[in-house]
Amino acid sequence: MVSAGWVERIKESSSEAKVLPGILRPGAYFFNGDEAAAEGAIAANGRFFAAYPITPATEIAERCAARFPECGGMFIQMEDELAAMNCILGAAWAGAKALTSTSGPGFSLMMENLGLGIMLETPVVLANVQRAGPSTGLPTSVGQQDMMQARWGSHGDYEIIALCPDSPQECFDLMIRAFNLSEQFRTPVLLMSDETIGHMTEKVIIPPAEEIELVPRRYTRAAPGDYWPYVPDEDLVPPMARAGTGYRYHVTGLTHDHRGYPDLDAEGQHQLLWRLKNKILQNQKKILSFEMARMDDAEVCLLAYGCSSRVARSVMELARERGIRAGLLRLITVWPFPDDLVRDVAGRVKAIIVPEINLGQIVREVERAARGRTKVVSVPHAGGGLHTEPAVLQVIEEALR
Amino acid sequence: MDSGYPEKLTMQMDGTPQAESPQFWRKPIDEGKAPKLVGVVLMIPERCKGCGWCVEFCPRKVLVISERFNIKGYHYPRVAKPEECVDCRLCERLCPEFAIYLKRSPAQGGS
């Protein structure tokens, strides 16, 4: 008993550049970050959700469970995160815009098939509401400790796109952007939220449908007999074909050629791996997003992302009150890492201070990008809470001494 | 099963190698009425990997292993008793290499 028109609407949801009518509920809401992310997925025409419950990402699943059925979407709670990740890959190939949500331990389980998503070039979104680890760690408390796992967690070499929201509103906005980037570059995109943002309740504005721009899936225009799944367009991204439309393609997690057939030698690997990497690196300018505050005259730069940037912003104001010309660079796109931007900032300030709720992850990238042009100081935090303003301020003062 | 035969008989026709003529456990009620089908065995020898299943399990012992080698170096089957083939297509289903198949005899409307 398939609902009438279900399959057609699923197809429309991925091929339209606008929110499908009758779905969106514009207005001002009081949402936590997780709920806002779920609403963002609906606004992005997300129609397939599969996940396994895990604190602090559960609210995304709960909201989707309640909302997807009435929005013409499919919700399923899978038996584990391995299944959840694979399930959304299958759904994406069947024509749905699909997402999953998880936190640290589940993120580890999803790593295997994140790699499959990258290899099959499948547009999906994975929201990770980070908590403190390792292992079960602090299930209900904040961490930003999966940032390097996001970049390197799946085996093999790859490029990934990761966005970090710093408010419930941004959970909504960036969820839409994550879907757009995943469609544009045919790759899984990570929304790296954290427990603080996920469980923080703020005003969230859902704009009217006409103000939301969506990137439709790049479906092939080739005739079924002429189509091969991995013949890229000029921007190195290959068009896609939906399952069940007569293209009868084969795709594999093995190293493959343009036909999708296994091509198991060094040359095939070279061709494929560089294309997968370059389709993101060549288009980095389209992916990059950041926010700068009071950086024009800054002598010291606070570089932060996610919930840490909220502390950093307040530290910046405190420092200014004390006569220190502090500025804020908030990374929204953390992966691919904005090397050029950070190098440029490094040439203008006496120090870059990197507060993050881990023992120093993104600071390594900052050090690498700064190439010794300035002093880079990590402000680590083991997780379970936010930095205190005086602690960060003290680091700034010491760095400038 | 839906072959129209009693299960026991179907099994016999499937697997059990039989002697020169079918040894039924009872006389079929349509014996003499049902037409005896005649098949033509077709073969793509270069696909064969010589597992010997078609030769072993042919209920009418139509096939034998050839003296010759194919391009891969395997002894492929050869039709020894073409007149015995009843178009049961067991060899076609059994062959793991998609190397052997049947056509209905032209006399019975096959192409």
């Binding site: 609902s3 | 065995v41 062959c95 998609f98």
Partner: protein, 351 residues
């Protein structure tokens, strides 16, 4: 996608008539042949029966998807000229779940091996059966991990040798039909690679079945299982099937334990009907839509108060207006502005 035209026999064409093409060629990717499977392996036979079943039951090729995991059997998806997905180890079923639920018009078939489906993917197997997803799972059981060189599998009979059980397997093997049926599969069958006609029939039944079908195909692995255990070649295993198999339709799958020797119980063990996940989901969707239209009616002037329509259910979709404007409130009917003013910042998660 032009499958190479099979050439006439270059030698021996006089002994057997040459051909214009095997009838299965149109469903196979002939540009990928010969396949990787060893002489005497039953995987080709299984694919052959699958292709025959597809041809015979007239199912639309374009609506048929094949998903495989990793291993020798995992390559099956790559040899069939259908929408084919070669996924990661053990994950064929969840991938197929996504395909099926996003497009329930597709017939999704998982063809994978015993190690893939019952060891690393065992959890997915039992849960897919429990949910009664409309999938066909063809599990080729060759008692060993073939692709990686003959390691012990959850199906290796007790005492049999493998590279990782050089002194004999210490574990009791899975009885896969029992596992599948006790997890809730609605069609459970087992055949050997000798039972080709029955296998084709069961495949056809499974394609037409609405619900979770699990078909175990017992296949010889001549190179890695049989050679190490001095059991002969593929033909020897086929002869064992011939002498040891026992057809018993409707048998209790509990009795279907497999040993290194002894009877091999085959047949269609379970065939029943119960509601699938997709059915239940779409039933829920239509009930929700009905409830929503009732609430809309009641909310009209002269109708009942909206509060009577159940506070927990999602409210009717509002007409898009210019932003920003105060919303009707959250899903639970709480006014956003009121909450922002008074209540502490806690999650408004559903109860």
């Amino acid at each position: 996608m032009n499958p190479e035209t099979p050439k006439k026999g270059t030698d021996g064409g006089d002994e057997l008539p040459g051909s214009d093409g095997h009838p299965m060629d149109r469903i196979l990717r002939m540009d990928r042949m010969p396949h990787i499977w060893c002489p005497g392996c039953g995987l080709g036979t299984t694919v052959s029966c699958f292709a025959l079943a597809v041809n015979e039951c007239g199912i639309d090729y374009d609506k048929l998807c094949v998903v495989s995991g990793i291993g020798c059997t995992g390559r099956a998806a790559g040899y069939l000229r259908l929408d084919g997905y070669h996924t990661t180890h053990g994950r064929a079923i969840p991938f197929a779940t996504g395909l099926h639920l996003a497009n329930p018009d597709l017939k999704v078939v998982v063809i994978s091996g015993d190690g893939d489906l019952s060891a690393i993917g065992g959890n997915h197997l039992i849960h897919a059966a429990r949910r009664n997803l409309n999938l066909v799972v063809i599990c080729v059981n060759n008692f060993i991990y073939g692709m990686t060189g003959g390691q012990v599998a959850p199906t290796t009979p007790e005492g049999m040798k493998a590279t990782t059980s050089p002194f004999g397997c210490l574990e009791h093997p899975f009885n896969l039909p029992y596992l599948a049926s006790s997890s809730g599969a609605t069609l459970v069958a087992r055949w050997t690679t000798l039972d080709v006609r029955q296998m084709v029939n069961t495949f056809k039944k499974a394609f037409m079945k609405k619900g979770f079908s699990f078909i175990e195909v017992i296949s010889p692995c001549p190179e890695l299982y049989m050679r190490r255990n001095k059991l002969g070649d593929g033909l020897a295993m086929m002869k064992r099937f011939q002498s040891d198999r026992l057809v018993k339709h409707g048998a209790d799958p509990k009795e279907a334990d497999l040993g290194a020797t002894g009877k091999i119980l085959v047949g269609e063990f379970v065939n029943l009907d119960r509601s699938t996940y997709a059915d239940a989901y779409f039933r829920m969707v239509s009930q929700l839509a009905e409830a929503k239209s009732v609430r809309k009616e009641e909310a009209k002037p002269g109708g009942k108060s909206p509060a009577q329509a159940g506070a927990k259910a999602p409210e009717a979709v509002g007409e898009p207006k210019a932003k920003p404007r105060p919303a009707e409130g959250d899903r639970e009917g709480r006014g956003p502005e009121k909450k922002a003013a008074g209540t502490p910042a806690v999650a408004t998660s559903p109860p």
